[in-house]
Symmetry: C2
Subunit: 248 residues, 2 copies
DNA sequence: CTTGTATGTGTAAAAAATACACATTTTTGC
DNA sequence: GCAAAAATGTGTATTTTTTACACATACAAG
């Protein structure tokens, strides 16, 4: 046993009187946020890209992002980007990772905080003007078409999403409020890049007991319409368990 | 189906010629790293704290951290902090989260990137001089004893650790290279704050088949010595699986 | 009204997780 | 050296979860 008791405050240490002065002595860096905004359409996972407005990145694609204002928190900056670009205010958004490679921006050092955002691709009000904005199939993105380190950021965010969607009910943010089990399954299959057994998939979700049967059915499909369900977020929040189990 | 083809490059957009000038126009913020350095001792998970050197935080404890240098990557800054403070170079280190609350530092805005580090508490060469440094039992930390938002950073890092230790073989970084199954189990019990069945715990780890029987036994214990094992990281890296399974 | 297509359902087998008890080995104290 | 204390090491039965797999049904389209 060592150091279990909290030692007394030593009197010999010189304390810094002016915290603001200390901070003024720090080097400063430009800070941005970049949002990997995912949507689900045509049975594919897509990410929202914009033409880079930098000449040195001419023709390349970029994630939506912006500089973080002097008195703005990171989450707020990311929400602002989403609001300005999609018109949506209630969007799923989580911080994923911070990237700081010295050469990641051609103009000099910029540190960026990457966010993952999930939205219903048919629900927002994008202004896709002048072909600036584009929903790109995630698995078809090539490194050389992307500006900065945005291919790396997308890969990181996508891997984060693949992992998270298995452990948390994130995926519903990509679907309409009411969805069929087929839509849910194709979503999982697209994101995880696997084929799932339909009966076992349904059994799994029904046994979780978070799906509310709306009594409604699909419309405008050219086959037998499936039942529409809602995810019971309230019940999930109340009953979700913390223990996962050791497994690696 | 919408927007599946990549649109042509529009000719109407005005491109920014000077990327460096653009960056110069960005607001800048001081950036730091803070390391939640965890160790395992006396059957408890501990975190390494230091007396705050700020007068406004007089008597409070702080994580080890430092400002990020102008041409330094975040990981390098965190490694530097670890090297300078513990003398260790091969330390487990992962970025956890970036904190940006406007009032988190009394001297003004500072954004900090939190790292989680795991090390063998008996293995490093800490200079615990003048009672500056202190291994503190994680679950006994009180908000009011911590400087800045470091209680929040510790909580976030600890939760990250609780989750990660169940999914990845991180915990071995907290143990000696050769360890007994009891040590491993008490580590898991301390971090997860649960009691585990000894037989099932052993069965689980043996069935993973990553433990190498060293043929050696514990020494200096006052009871029947247990066998010592090593974790086979090489085998783990080769055979680890990616598919987790939907479960929430 | 026939064809095509996707929905909806159940069971058996295998695998994994859980609950649970006793003999063995070593140290310590007498 | 012997008894007591303490922790190691092991197996089985039960339950739960996961997996594999096939057919009847409902609706749309022609």
């Amino acid at each position: 046993m060592r150091n279990t008791k909290i030692p007394a405050i030593p009197s010999t240490v010189t304390l810094i009187k002016d915290a603001a002065e200390l901070i003024n002595s720090y080097p400063q860096v430009p800070l941005t946020v970049d949002c990997a905004i995912f949507g689900f359409d045509d049975n594919k996972l897509k990410v929202l890209l914009i033409r880079s407005d930098l000449e040195v990145c001419h023709g390349k694609w970029s994630l939506l992002g912006d500089v973080v204002h002097a008195t703005e928190e990171l989450d707020d900056a990311a929400y602002r980007v989403l609001r300005e670009r999609t018109g949506m205010t209630d969007v799923y958004l989580k911080q994923v990772h911070t990237f700081s490679a010295l050469n990641r921006h051609p103009g000099g050092r910029v540190v960026t905080v990457a966010y993952c955002s999930l939205l219903n691709i048919r629900h927002h009000e994008l202004q896709i003007t002048e072909n600036e904005l584009h929903w790109q199939h995630v698995r078809s993105i090539r490194e050389k078409d992307m500006a900065f380190d945005h291919k790396l950021i997308i890969d990181t965010s996508y891997q984060w999403l693949q992992k998270s969607i298995q452990e948390h009910p994130l995926g519903f943010n990509l679907l309409p409020e009411k969805f069929s089990l087929r839509e849910l399954q194709t979503l999982y299959e697209a994101i995880l890049n696997v084929e799932l057994d339909r009966r076992n998939f349904r059994k799994k979700f029904f046994s979780m007991d978070f799906l509310i049967d709306t009594g409604e059915f699909e419309e405008d499909v050219k086959h037998r319409p499936g039942k529409l369900y809602q995810f019971d977020f309230a019940k999930y929040e109340k009953t979700k368990r913390k223990w996962i189990g050791i497994d690696f």
